[in-house]
Symmetry: C2
Subunit: 228 residues, 2 copies
DNA sequence: CGCCCAAAGATTGTCGACAATAAGATTGAC
DNA sequence: GTCAATCTTATTGTCGACAATCTTTGGGCG
């Protein structure tokens, strides 16, 4: 499942849009490593395009804060520091908490049923401990993604899906996160869904915030251990 | 006081950056009216520049969702619907609530003293009922702006100051909002600052969220009355 | 030997021109 | 008279080239 706000057509009409998607993926997945300088002539040649559309794509990457640009100097892929990662968690706590509240109010019964099915699938995944690293983290984002979609707030969806989730994914690719929190996280997910199913927005928000806060603290601990 | 995240140099180095600022201002203040089509040749001629930098600026405006663009067709200034305005309030409730909590934890005593001074100034402004319309709304944003700055979360600051506040301002220019809530709002501001001064993040968040929720409801009522 | 200055190289920013797509107008047919 | 199709026109998307700026390399001076 692709993490984007709207269903994008197979091949985007304009080169600038296509190159934007490609570059974003390349950056998020680390193919273009963090901190590396982005040379317009080189990249244009690599993708077989002109510098015009490339620069337009770069301007959008700049807005997504995936690259940092200095006038007359050039652009570099951002390097996500631990502080920045924790900042993202804080914002997600606020926004996704609200998303959970809205989802409890607006989500259709069918969508909730779907969400429950997703969780049962995750439950079987967690049972097979081996697969942990990759599939579970991907599943975690998938869960959050659906809650946000369920909020029905288009702008909220955009902020989270067009920017923050890409950054979160980038961080994960950068550090090869393997969380030992899979079981706990799953349980927390279940509680959130339960609250949503009961249409208890207040509780859903509270649970979602606690869930993300716990994730942040786990990451904080892992970062501290890494540092030593 | 200019509503931007970082202090921008007097004149920006590159044309694309400068034209971005100018266009954003023109759109926010209604000089380029909502829904109007943006013709690249016309605008380029108007500003005496080429289409290259203009298109780069447009890509950034697109990312800020101030213009909507269809491939091979063109770009139009967005028209803020009432639904979208309310969506923004919801997001602000979540984000600024969190900002208030963080401000209570991180803000320096000097900054808090500054904030208090700002409020006393607003208090005298409110006393002179005449000035209401313009200065008070501007002051309202100024207050929120400072709280967000006080959070110390750079990304949070960016989201609010680079996108949402411009949208809020655009809406205000579009509808010439005069709120009858000045006195209530000021009181709510004072409570928030008090909580921050006491370093009570929990309460600060709660008060800020209630404040924004009340503003949203007032706007909702006004929109409903307008509609009839 | 190290530091500073200058020139060469490379890269970014900007421009005008061409190609491709979409909107609008004109003409023809029913 | 209305609809449809085609042609015209205008706008968007893309490209290559030039100008301005920064970086780097080389040389000279202290």
């Amino acid at each position: 499942m692709s993490i984007t706000a709207e269903a994008l057509p197979e091949v985007t009409a304009t080169i600038a849009d296509r190159i934007f998607d490609q570059l974003r993926q390349a950056i998020v997945e680390g193919e273009i490593p963090p901190g590396s300088k982005i040379s317009e002539p080189v990249l244009a040649a690599r993708y077989g395009i002109s510098r015009g559309p490339l620069r337009e794509a770069m301007r959008r990457l700049e807005s997504s804060s995936l690259v940092e640009r200095k006038p007359n100097v050039g652009a570099r892929v951002i390097t996500l520091t631990s502080e920045q990662l924790l900042e993202i968690y804080v914002i997600r706590e606020a926004l996704e908490g609200m998303a959970a509240r809205l989802a409890a109010e607006h989500m259709s019964d069918a969508a909730i049923a779907d969400l429950k099915r997703l969780l049962t699938r995750h439950r079987t995944d967690v049972a097979q401990e081996e697969w942990q690293t990759y599939f579970q983290k991907e599943g975690d984002l998938d869960f959050h993604f659906r809650i946000v979609q369920g909020s029905g707030n288009r702008r909220l969806i955009n902020i989270l899906c067009n920017d923050l989730y890409h950054l979160a994914r980038m961080y994960r690719c950068q550090f090869g996160m393997k969380s030992d929190r899979a079981r706990d996280a799953l349980k927390e997910h279940e509680l959130v869904v339960e609250a949503i199913a009961e249409r208890d927005g207040e509780l859903a928000e509270w649970l979602m915030r606690r869930h993300i806060r716990k994730s942040r603290k786990a990451t904080e601990r892992r970062l501290a251990a890494m540092q030593e």
